[in-house]
Structures are given as C-alpha cells and as structure tokens.
C-alpha cells in the first residue's frame, strides 16, 4: 500500500485546451485549487465543465497545457495512474456499474492510503448503503447512487476529490445532506473541486468560484467577495 494519497494535494491548471475530434471545447483554462480548498466551477450547460473534470482524470485523449497535482504533471498519463495518485472523482452520471452490486461498486477502486476511512466509518456517514449492499447498484434511487459514488470515492483514501454536479436532479433534503458531507470533508482537510449549477447551494461552501463559458474562465471570485460579485456571477450564469 502506498501513501501517495495521504497528503491532500492542490491542483494547478494552466492553458488547458481540450478537443473532441475537431471540436475545440476547452480554450485555455487557468485554474488553481490550493491544498485544503474547496473550489467550485459554475457555468451553463455545454460550457465544458465536465470536459474539464474528465481532462484532469485523464479521460480526454486530445489535451494540451498543464495539469499539476501537487508537484506531479498529470497530462498524458493514463487514467488509472492518475487515479492512483490520490485523485478520486464522482462523474456527472455517478458512474455506478449496473452489473455490480452496491458492495462491489463500493469496493471497486483500490485503496491508496493506509489511513483511508474504513467501511464502518463510511456506513456511519452513509447509513442507507449498509442495508443495500447486495442490491444491484443501479437499483438504488438517484440520491442513494450519489451517496454510493461519494462513499466509493472516499474509501480509496484519496484526498483530492472532483465532483461533477453532485446535486443534479436530487431532492432538497438530499442536497442539504450532501452539503453537510462536503462541509465535513472540507473541515477534515480534503481538497475539493466541484462542478455545480446551484449557486445558492455552493456559495457558502466554496473558498473560490470560477465561471466557465464556452471553454474559457470568464469570471472568478474569492469567497470574501461573493456578496459584491453576486450580480455579475448571476449575469454570467444567466440565472
């Protein structure tokens, strides 16, 4: 077992371009997540938010620029290697495998650090999963699938986490629950990069916000400036 994941590493992205075939989706993104920070990326549908997360995870074939996790350059490395460096994610669709049970989904990724939370700790955080261990993963409700995806990510012991729209399509009660969990993760020193469309929900949690539009960062602000910047953020997001 390696402990590469123990330290919560920051992410530094510079001049990131990403393509799907001919279509140029990210057009020079600069973005920084300091260790222990929670940073949110906002943006309309199709702005390139998921593409940004996938680029970091090594899932976009045509990419250029720089992506650093701590002092390691990630760009060009195979996805599995990137994940084993202590970077874990929750995809927009949650990434639950239909042919696997809840337990199998949960235990799918390798454990990366000796101080990774054990299952008892995870079930304390996500009690709904415990009784459903043998059900097929996709038999869970949307909220439960999100919990499973979060638990799976945490179980690896990764300390730098990427979440793609964790509240999308969920009931307000669940959204609040996820907010509490994320706040708790932040307090425990995790580094988090979230994609989110729900400004009201994410603003109180985040240290820094970026707005992505047509593959570029068009606005950003630190948490202490939220109040003053709110009108311009809202304008950018078309809310």
């Amino acid at each position: 077992m390696t402990d590469r994941a123990r330290a919560s590493s920051g992410l530094e992205i510079q001049g990131l371009h990403a393509f799907y075939g001919q279509s140029h989706v990210l057009r020079g993104v600069d973005l920084s997540v300091k260790p222990g920070q929670l940073v949110a990326i906002l943006g309309r549908n199709g702005a390139g938010k998921s593409t940004l997360i996938k680029s970091i995870m090594g899932l976009i074939k045509k990419c250029s620029g720089q992506i650093r996790l701590g002092d390691v350059d990630l760009l060009g490395r195979p996805a599995d290697q990137i994940a084993r460096m202590g970077l874990a994610w929750v995809p927009e669709d949650r990434g639950i495998f239909a042919s696997l049970t809840v337990a199998e989904n949960l235990r799918l990724p390798p454990i990366l650090a000796s101080d990774a939370p054990d299952e008892a700790a995870l079930f304390a955080l996500f009690p709904a999963l415990h009784e459903r261990l043998n059900t097929p993963g996709t038999r869970l409700s949307g909220g439960e699938q999100q919990m499973l995806a979060l638990a799976r990510m945490l179980r690896t012991g990764a300390r730098t986490l990427l979440l793609d729209e964790p509240t999308e399509g969920l009931a307000p009660l669940i959204v609040a629950q996820i907010g509490e969990i994320i706040a708790q993760l932040k307090r425990s020193g995790y580094t988090l990069l979230l994609v989110e469309q729900n400004l009201q929900w994410i603003a109180p949690l985040a240290d820094h916000l970026y707005v992505l539009e047509q593959g570029r960062i068009v606005d950003e602000c630190a948490s202490e400036d939220f109040e003053g910047r709110l009108p311009s953020l809202i304008a950018h997001l078309g809310l």
Binding site: P78, A79, D80, A83, A88, A98, L100, R107
Partner: protein
C-alpha cells in the same frame, strides 16, 4: 432406447465442448469487443500438445492437463499484448482479422508439420473402460470430460459472478474507460481475460485429444458450429454461453436420434430463427 441414450451422451459431450469454447469466446468478446477467430487454433494446439508432449518429453495425460492450458493461456496473452493491443484503438474489424490471420497461420504451419491426417492419442489408462449404468454403457473417459467441463464452467461462472476479479471483469465489460478512471489497470485486465479464454480453449482441445482425431483443422471445423452456438446464446453473457452450449449439444443429439437428416443443420436453422426474433441472441446484451 439404447440409441437415444447414446445420442444424448454424445450431445452432452459435444455440449461440453460448445460450452467451454463459447464461454471463452464470451469472456474475450466482453473485454476486447472482438470475436476471437483464433479460438479454434488454440483448441487445436491444446489437442496437439497432448501427443507431442508424450512423444518428445514423455509427459502423459495428467501432466499435460496441468501444463497445457496455462502455457497456451500465456501464449494467448503474448499474442494479445503484441498483436491485438496495438489494434484496439482502431476499428474492431482489424482485431478480428488479426485473430483470423493468426488462426490460418497456425493451421498452415501444423499442416506442414504434421499433414492433414493428424496424430493418434490414447485415453489415459486410469480412464479406460466404462460403467454399466443399467440402461447404457458410459465410457469412463466421456463421463470424465462431462464432469470436468461442468466443474470448469461452474468455476468460471463463480469467478465472474462472485469474486473481486469477476467484478472487475464485469465492470470493464460495461465501461472500460470509466473503470480505468477509478484506478484500475484495464489493459492488464483485458490481457488476463484473453488468456483465460484461450486457456479454456486449450483445455477443451486437450480433453478432446483422446476422443477426436488430433488434426490441424479440428478446431476450425468445430468452431463453425461453436459460432452458431454463440450467435444463438448471444455474445458476452457467461451464463448464457454455458446454458446454450450444453442445451444445443443435447438438441443436436436428440435431432440425430429423431431426425438424423437434420442433425448437421439443426443448429444453423435455430441460429437463423433466433437471429430473426432476437438479433442479440437469447442472452445477449441489447446494444452489442
């Protein structure tokens, strides 16, 4: 009645081979998305290994049973790693053609080396003779083949459905790229499953060696039927391959008793019917 039972027995024996071979094809198809046309060649090599190991190294049946499947599985993994992996980014047609080409080369070399008639291989002494079951005589070796094939099929099923490795294989079949983003080395998993599939083909060949004539085209001939089995069962389903393998062997045997004229065509007729009604086969994945 005697004749019916003996056709049923032949059906079960054939079904054992169909199941082992289509199981391997399904495993490989699930992870590589190619129909492995090299399968028949590995079956044939598994069969040839038996008389060759005996003649040149003095290794008998039981030794071969231990050595041959793992060694050929390793050979399959090398083939996958060197030839198939570089083709994986391209259209699946290239991978399929590569396995087809490999099969032709291996068959050709074996024909040059051993002629078309092939080599004899005796049933191991411990399994000669038979059991009188009252209603029929069961040759020991045939009973052994059926038992081994059932045990191996059940083990592979449990491996895929109940173990961590199986969970990884299922996840990779579902979405390989996604799986890699969770920290799993998928290319290694793909190589491993190719090896597993090839190992099953080699085992089937070895089991067949004392029963069928060991000759270069034995695999190619059998695979024509096995591909029909796979089309009927549907690609990629483990349980589906096993169940269809045995049932079609038995159906073929029953046809040979009740309507012998149709026994060589029944599987292809069934294949056409299934294709018309369920294009992905009885157990097939929808989008395949």
């Amino acid at each position: 009645m005697q004749a019916l039972y003996s056709q049923l027995l032949i059906g079960l024996i054939n079904g054992s081979f169909y199941a082992l071979l289509s199981l391997g094809l399904s495993l490989i198809f699930g992870l590589l998305n190619i129909v492995n046309f090299a399968h028949g060649a590995f079956f044939m090599l598994g069969a040839f290994a038996a008389p060759l190991l005996l003649e040149h190294l003095g290794i008998g049946y039981w030794g071969s049973l231990l050595i041959v499947p793992p060694v050929l599985a390793l050979g399959g993994m090398v083939l996958q790693r060197i030839v198939l992996r570089p083709l994986q980014e391209l259209d699946h047609l290239y991978g399929l053609l590569a396995t087809f080409g490999f099969a032709l080369i291996v068959q050709g070399l074996m024909q040059i080396g051993f002629g078309s008639a092939g080599l004899p291989y005796a049933i191991p002494s411990a399994l000669q003779g038979g059991q009188n079951l009252g209603f029929m005589l069961l040759p020991n070796y045939r009973g052994f083949v059926i038992l081994v094939s059932l045990a191996v099929c059940a083990s592979v099923y449990l491996l895929v459905e109940r173990t961590r490795l199986g969970a990884l294989l299922r996840a990779a079949t579902e979405n390989a790229e996604r799986l890699s983003s969770f920290g799993i080395n998928v290319p290694r998993l793909v190589t491993l499953s190719y090896g597993l599939g090839v190992g099953l083909a080699a085992l089937a060949g070895l089991l067949a060696a004392p029963m069928l004539q060991v000759r270069p085209l034995m695999g190619a001939d059998l695979m024509i039927v096995v591909f029909a089995v796979v089309v009927i069962g549907g690609m990629g389903s483990i349980l589906g391959s096993i169940v269809t393998g045995y049932s079609l062997g038995v159906i073929e045997g029953l046809t040979r008793y009740f309507y012998p004229e149709a026994s060589n065509t029944i599987l292809f007729v069934l294949m056409a019917l299934v294709l018309a009604v369920r294009p992905n086969g009885l157990f097939g994945r929808r989008e395949a």
